[in-house]
């Protein structure tokens, strides 16, 4: 029963309020994956604030139990945490998942130290429990979550989330273009399929939905090499190689307006069609909920 994905923040790098970004939204990374009994949260960008408001509209009598996964501690993935209402309620439990050492826990609390924010991490009333992956797998409620490493300055984690035979992969802040089997391929012929090593494709294999960092166009990327983000066309090729059903382009560039994102989605779906893949491509948009467990 029920596997839902809601986009709360889809902007990369910095919040971008204003009319140019109103439709796709200006909040930074935050994604809610939910079953009938479990709520998983991926990243704590500014979108987390509104997720908090929504969770508090109908809180369960026993209090909220939430599972928070962080891809990495860059600002746009943690900045919403101090504004997350449920963290201030003693009835809330938040499981924070990290690696064996669980540095995420410290990094979340670091931004709440003295000069940065008026409330201290230790003053949050919620029960905040550090949790660790074991061999890159963890059970969170009725979901199984696997983590994998990605190419990003300082590193970042991607997550494959499984529930009753369905899989959603959240893979943001990942510079796929530095991992290509033939790095010069795209400049020789941008139209040829950009192959990625099997180890990069494996975590996405046959996912029902891949939510992936697709920040740059082919034209923009040469000036952004090493910044840690992918070309949307390369993400399309990854999705095709992995046999993904649906691809959500996300981590929208702060410079990209709604029309720019539309254009990127059109280019990406045209590419999928020209390669002959049955891949549905769309732009992740704030306030949209998809249901993954149908068809």
């Amino acid at each position: 029963m029920g596997f839902f994905v809601r986009f709360w923040g889809v902007r990369g790098s910095i919040p971008t309020p204003g009319p140019r970004t109103r439709r796709y939204g200006g909040n930074t990374s935050c994604y809610e994956l939910r079953s009938d009994t479990t709520v998983l949260i991926f990243d704590a960008g500014t979108g987390l604030r509104e997720l908090g408001i929504s969770l508090l509209r109908n809180p369960p009598r026993a209090g909220l139990e939430l599972h928070l996964f962080l891809s990495h501690p860059h600002w746009d993935h943690i900045q919403g945490f101090p504004f997350f209402g449920p963290a201030y309620l003693p009835t809330t439990t938040i499981h924070v998942y990290g690696s064996e050492k669980n540095e995420n826990y410290q990094l979340l609390s670091g931004q709440m130290s003295n000069a940065y924010f008026p409330v201290a991490f230790k003053d949050l009333s919620a029960r905040i429990v550090p949790r660790a992956f074991k061999n890159d797998v963890v059970q969170a409620g009725d979901f199984v979550v696997r983590r994998f490493d990605q190419k990003h300055p300082g590193g970042s984690a991607g997550f494959r989330v499984e529930h009753e035979g369905r899989a959603v992969v959240y893979a943001t802040d990942s510079e796929l273009d530095q991992l290509l089997t033939d790095p010069e391929g795209p400049s020789r012929n941008p139209r040829t399929l950009r192959r990625l090593p099997a180890a990069v494709v494996a975590p996405m294999k046959n996912a029902d939905l891949l939510i992936a960092d697709a920040q740059y166009t082919d034209e923009e990327y040469p000036k952004r090499i090493g910044w840690g983000h992918a070309r949307s066309n390369t993400v399309v090729d990854l999705a095709i190689q992995a046999g993904v059903r649906q691809l959500a382009l996300t981590h929208h560039d702060p410079m990209h307006s709604d029309r720019d994102v539309d254009a990127m989605v059109l280019t990406a779906s045209e590419r999928a069609r020209s390669i002959g893949a049955e891949l549905e491509v769309f732009g992740a948009r704030e306030g949209v909920t998809l249901r993954v467990d149908r068809e």
């Binding site: 839902f4 809601r6 109103r22 439709r23 549905e280 769309f282 948009r285 704030e286 306030g287 949209v288 909920t289 998809l290 249901r291």
Partner: protein, 127 residues
């Protein structure tokens, strides 16, 4: 009769602000959010949205009734939260498509196209 002398406390803040309004300031008129049906039985038609909650469907219980076999009896609901409408699929047979993408729910934005079976709406955001 109150003989209270004016002091600055929290109750007085709104009044203080009113007194400082620029000359000529007035609240803007409100315009309702709208759904315009552009395809399917009953089109063209325009619906101003004012209820906090309404159901779109073929059945007699629906608030916005559509005589189409492609539309479920209670197909989708529109709910207003913080003056934004969210559409949600009520387990309909043919689903709710937002600008071509099948969605479970979505906060609507100006110009969005919604398809429910053979019925198409364009959403216009009010102010």
């Amino acid at each position: 009769m109150s003989t209270r002398t004016p002091t600055i406390d929290e109750d007085d803040v709104p009044q203080t602000m009113m007194n400082r309004l620029p000359a000529g300031f007035k609240p803007r008129p409100r315009r309702a959010h709208q759904l315009e049906q552009t395809a399917g039985p009953g089109s063209p038609s325009r619906h101003e949205l004012s209820a906090d909650m309404l159901v779109i469907g073929r059945g007699s219980a629906a608030d916005l009734r559509i005589e189409s076999d492609d539309v479920s009896r209670t197909h989708a609901q529109l709910q207003r939260v913080d003056d934004e409408y969210t559409i949600e699929d009520l387990d309909s047979r043919n689903g709710v498509f937002l600008n071509g993408l099948r969605v479970h729910a979505a906060v609507l934005r100006d110009g969005d196209q919604l398809q429910l079976g053979d019925v198409v709406f364009t959403y216009t955001e009010g102010t």
